[in-house]
Each structure stands twice: as C-alpha cells, then as structure tokens.
Amino acid sequence: MSDILSLIIRRLAFGLLTMLIVSFLIFFALELLPGDLAHAVLGQMATEETVAAIRKQLGLDVPAIIRYFYWLEGAVHGDFGKSLINKADVGHAIFGRLANSFFLAGFAALFAIPLAVSLGVAAALFRDTLFDKAINVASLTAVSVPEFLLGYILVLFFAVWAHVFPPMADIKDHAEFGERVYRSFLPAMTLVLVVTPHMMRMTRAAIINLLASPYIEMARLKGTPPWRVIVWHALPNALAPIINVVTLNLAYLITGVVLVEVVFVYPGIGQLLVDSVAKRDFPIVQACCLIFAATFIVLNIAADVGSIMTNPRLMHPK
C-alpha cells in the first residue's frame, strides 16, 4: 500500500511543480510585449510623463520577478488584480462565470462518459463488423468537425427549425436550476459531440488491446459468451486506461468550452477570455489562462492517480 501512496505523492509533487512553472510562464509571457505594458495601455501617442505615471500606477517600477511573487500570492488567494479596461476586480468578474463554465462542462460530462464507454465497449464487442466500421467512420468524422460547426448544426436543427431549445444560452445570474438546464442544453450537447468520439475510440482501443491477452483466450476457450468476456474479464482490467482516457478528455472539454461558449453566447469563462484577448486586457487573460491551465493539470494528475489506483497489479502487491 505504501508503494501506491509514495507514487501518488510523487505525482502530486510533480503536478505542483508543473503548476508553478506554468504560472511563471504565463506571467513572464507578458514581458514579450513590444515596449512594455504601459505603452500597450496608452498606445503610440503617449507622452513620457503619462507613461511614467501609468507605470507607477500599475507597479511596473518594481522588477518583474518581485511582481511575479506578488501576483502569485494574490492568485493563490483568488485576487488577480484589476482589469486594465474598466478597473474592476478581476477575481470578482471571473468566479461567477467560472461556476457557469463548470456547470456546462459537468452537464456535458454526465452524458458523454456513459455514452462513450458503452459505445466503445459495443464497438470492441462487434469488432470488424459493419457496426464497428460505421462507428469508426462516424467518430473519425466527428473528431474532424470543428466545434463551432457542431454547435451551429444543433442550433439550426433544434432552435431555428424546431423551436425546441433557445439558440442562445444567455443565463441570468439567479436563474433556477431547471431554467439553467434548459438553456444550456444545446451547448452541453455540442460538447458531448465534441468529446464522445475521442473517448469512445480510446475505450475501444484499450479493450481491444487486452483481447489478445492469455486470460481472455482462456475465458473464450472455456466457452464464456463474448459479452461476458468483455464485461467481466476485459473491462475491469481496461478500467485504468479508460479512467485515463475519460479524465484526459475532460481536459479536452476545456478547449471545447471556449469555442462553444462563443457560439452560444454562454456567460462562461471562455467567452470572457476571448473578449479580453480582443481587448488586450492582460490581467484577465492571465487569470483565465492560469485557471484553464490549473484545471488541465489537476485533471491530468487525476488521470494518473486514477489509473494507479485501479491498476490491479499495484492494488494487490505480492
């Protein structure tokens, strides 16, 4: 048991280190700006005095490395400084939207995971039949389709032609749960279509990988029905790779969220990020990137820890 514990602790420590380096990169990327932040805020026509004043106001007279530590300390407490455009508190602007984005991603995951795993198992079960081929073609197609096309197709079908769901997901701050689900249904389904094919293909590959093992051969030879071979003998051993696949694809949801939120005008953090990039509001861009990267890293660690915990060889050491 201590083996697993030390493995997990080592993995967590490595994740923390990665997080630190990534935050360093995100902060110092700003130093790539031609000129510096004060020039970027004021534009080309600024006089020397105003540049100096803005510099002082933004705290740019302090060396970058010291500013980094102040920024990091604030970020840990949820304080990301003030917006360059409207001077509002960044943390305040982000957290409400963050909850919306997590709601959307969670909603999508709730549908995508069972669908992907069962389709993947079915494709492995009916390997090399027409069903498998059709699923292969369909999933390859879905993988190749840009997220915004999937979104607009759903809008066309279910909002414009059928009037079943609203084309825009403009959720008010105090919307009730049912209202929230109804309005975010189309964006969530788009995300399901975005992540399911990846997950499904990897689930299928994970199971098929195992089908060549001797214990599967044994189960077959003793006359176990094919579905039982897969569900009873292959699936528990494929659990580690599948958990890996599922969490990695949840991380993939993050990228999907940005585009889907823009398509549906959903008030989430992805939309905020895109707006701020266009307005060059760097504190918000940095904060959003840090949050996205942190989620991504946490999910990656979860994937590793999950596959360690479900590995039968590690769970039952000799």
């Binding site: 027409l130 390859l140 915004f148 079908f157 032609w161 940005v258 991504f296 990656n300």
Partner: protein, 360 residues
C-alpha cells in the same frame, strides 16, 4: 438552398431507395441491424426534433453520401487499372474512406493551385447588396458586405490550407529533429527536452495560442510562429518515442560501433524505419493545426480581414443561421471535409503499418 431542401418529395424518395439498397447490400453482414437501429433512431430524433426541414436535410445528406460512395467505388476501379502493379495491389485493398480522402485532398489541391481561375470574383470586391440570395451569377449568394461567397470560399480555402501547411511543416521539422536528437543522444539532453515538452504540453493548445496572440498581436507571421511553437512539443514527444524503438535495435548499435556520426544514423538507419508512422503523424498534426487555426479565425484572432478564411467566414455570416439558411455553414463543412479526408487516409496508413508489424 432552401428551395432545394423544402417541398420536394423526390429527395425523400431517392433517400428511401438508397437506404433500402444499402440495407439490401449489407443484409448478410454481421452488425447491420445495429446500423439500421442507429439510422432509425437518427431519423426519429430528427423528425421529432427538427420536423420536416430536418428530414429533408437528412434525405439530402443520405443522397450525397450515396453519391460519394459511388464516386469512390469508381475512383478505386480506375486507380486499380491505371496504377502500376505494386500500387494497384495497395489500392485494391484500400477502404472506400481512404479513396474519399484522396478525392477531397485532390479537390483541395486543385483549389489551392487554381484559385484565381476558379473564382469568378475577387475575395475583397463588393459586387452586390449584402446577403443577396444565390443565383446564377453569385452561386452561393453574397456575404454580409456583398462579397461573392463562392469566390471567398475558394480563396479562403487557399489561405487556410497554405497557412496551416506552413505552420505544420515548421513545427514538424523542429519537433522531429529535436525528437530524433533526444532519442539518439539520450541522457541529460533527452531528460531536459522531455521535461520542457511536459511543461508546454500542460497548457491546452487553444489557451496557449490565445495567451500568446493577445500579447504578440495577430499578423500572419506571428500566427504561423505561435501555432508552430505550440505543436513542436507534441511532435517532439511522438518522434522521440517512435525513434526510441529503433535506437535500441542491433543495426543501430552496429553502425555506432562502425563509428558513424549522429547525422548518418538519423538519415540512414532511423528515418527509413520510422517514415510510415511519421508521415501518418504529419497528416494528423496537419488536422490539429488546421482546426486550431480555423478556431482562432472563428474567434476573430486568426487570419484578419479582408483576407478570406474559412473560420472567420462562419462567424461573419452566422446571423443567417437564425433564418434557417445553411450558407454560413458551407465553409465550416469544407473545414470538416478536409480534416475528415486527411483523417481517413491516416487511419488507413496506420492500419497498413500495424498490419505489417503483425505479419513480420
């Protein structure tokens, strides 16, 4: 487009015939019942979801798919007869999806090369009122400023494809050589490059692109540089792992003992033995780069107006969708078509190389 889709029962009739024939052809094959169930489910969902318009569209899709299947069959027949013997055998066993990929890529290449001759108007010329409907002059209507949609799709394809290709080639040459180098040298260089790649890969591609583009601004050179830089670590990782399998073999050991340099080993021993997976990987990375650039352009941060581009065209004309028009979706479908085509070929290539491994 809407005339074509609505009020015309011929379409459904053809669709039904196609469905029935398809079902008949595959009647004997295992798993076809599942297809039938899925198709029925799709039809039912569309019927209850999108009503008549939806069913019409579904009919059109089925007809287009049947035509595509027939054309692919014909293409395979032609290729098997025209190609030299060694290739003919490969083509004979090629799945229809791979042929479809070749068809799409061929069409795209023609479009990239002959864009100025194919497009009736220039990409930035305002030729009519905004959102003019499709007719015989403006084949797909006009966009939000009154520019010809068809011409913009042709030129947009040229820009999107050339830009993605450049970024992929840059990323691939850097990532591949770093990967090969790390695999050969091993040790501290390998470890260092590996950790560096880990850090860069722990930020999602789109997020990293948004961060860098917000700081560096959006012009074409920056866009290519940023996108290439994002994909270098991914290609490095893959090349390293593929090359590592070859580095440990006896023939590499033998050439080392013979006193050959790194460059010779890369060129004569490792590259020939890793070519197939690397070419497949190039196709795959091209898809990712293409989709990333399309996504960025869609968000307004990629290729800038007045240059046409498939991603930004979707966003500019998205208003039309709420009127039930599908013209804004045509560039998006073109993106999907090209990536699907490349993916199909990659899938086929991977299957071939996997098959070779199994036999040896």
């Amino acid at each position: 487009m809407s005339d074509f889709v609505s009020g015309d029962f011929l379409v459904e009739f053809i669709a039904l015939i196609c469905l029935a024939t398809g079902w008949y052809i595959y009647r004997g094959e295992k798993g076809s019942w599942a297809i039938a169930v899925l198709l029925a489910a799709a039809t039912a969902v569309t019927w209850f979801g999108a009503g008549k318009d939806g069913i019409h569209t579904l009919g059109v899709i089925v007809v287009l798919m049947s035509v595509a299947i027939m054309v692919c069959h014909a293409l395979r027949w032609l290729l098997v007869r025209l190609a030299p013997l060694s290739f003919a055998q490969t083509f004979r066993s090629a799945p229809l999806t791979a042929l479809f990929g070749f068809l799409v890529i061929g069409a795209c290449l023609l479009m990239v090369i002959f864009a100025p001759y194919m497009a009736p108007f220039s990409e930035s010329e305002v030729v009519s009122a905004a959102y003019a409907p499709a007719d015989s002059t403006y084949w797909l209507g006009t966009d939000q400023l009154g520019r010809d949609m068809f011409s913009r799709i042709v030129f947009g394809g040229r820009h999107s494809i050339l830009l993605s290709l450049t970024a992929t080639v840059v990323a691939f040459s850097l990532g591949m050589f770093a990967g090969l180098f790390a695999a050969i040298r091993g040790g501290i260089i390998d470890q260092l490059l590996g950790r560096l790649a880990d850090v860069f890969m722990s930020v999602p591609a789109l997020i990293l692109a948004l961060l860098l583009l917000s700081i560096l601004g959006t012009n074409l050179a920056v866009l290519v540089g940023v996108v290439a830089a994002i994909y270098v670590p991914r290609i490095f990782r893959l090349t390293r792992s593929v090359a590592f399998g070859v580095v440990v073999t006896d023939f590499v050991e033998a050439s080392r003992v013979r006193g050959e340099g790194d460059w010779y080993i890369i060129r004569r021993e490792i590259l020939p033995n890793t070519a197939a997976p690397l070419i497949a990987e190039f196709g795959l990375e091209f898809c990712y780069v293409f989709l990333l650039i399309a996504g960025l352009s869609f968000l307004g941060l990629g290729i800038q107006p007045p240059m046409a581009d498939w991603g930004s065209m979707v966003r500019e004309n998205a208003v039309l969708i709420s009127f039930g028009e599908i013209t804004p979706l045509i560039p998006a479908m073109a993106i999907a078509l090209l990536t699907v085509g490349v993916n199909f070929i990659v899938d086929w290539m991977l299957k071939i190389t996997a098959g070779l491994k199994d036999n040896s």
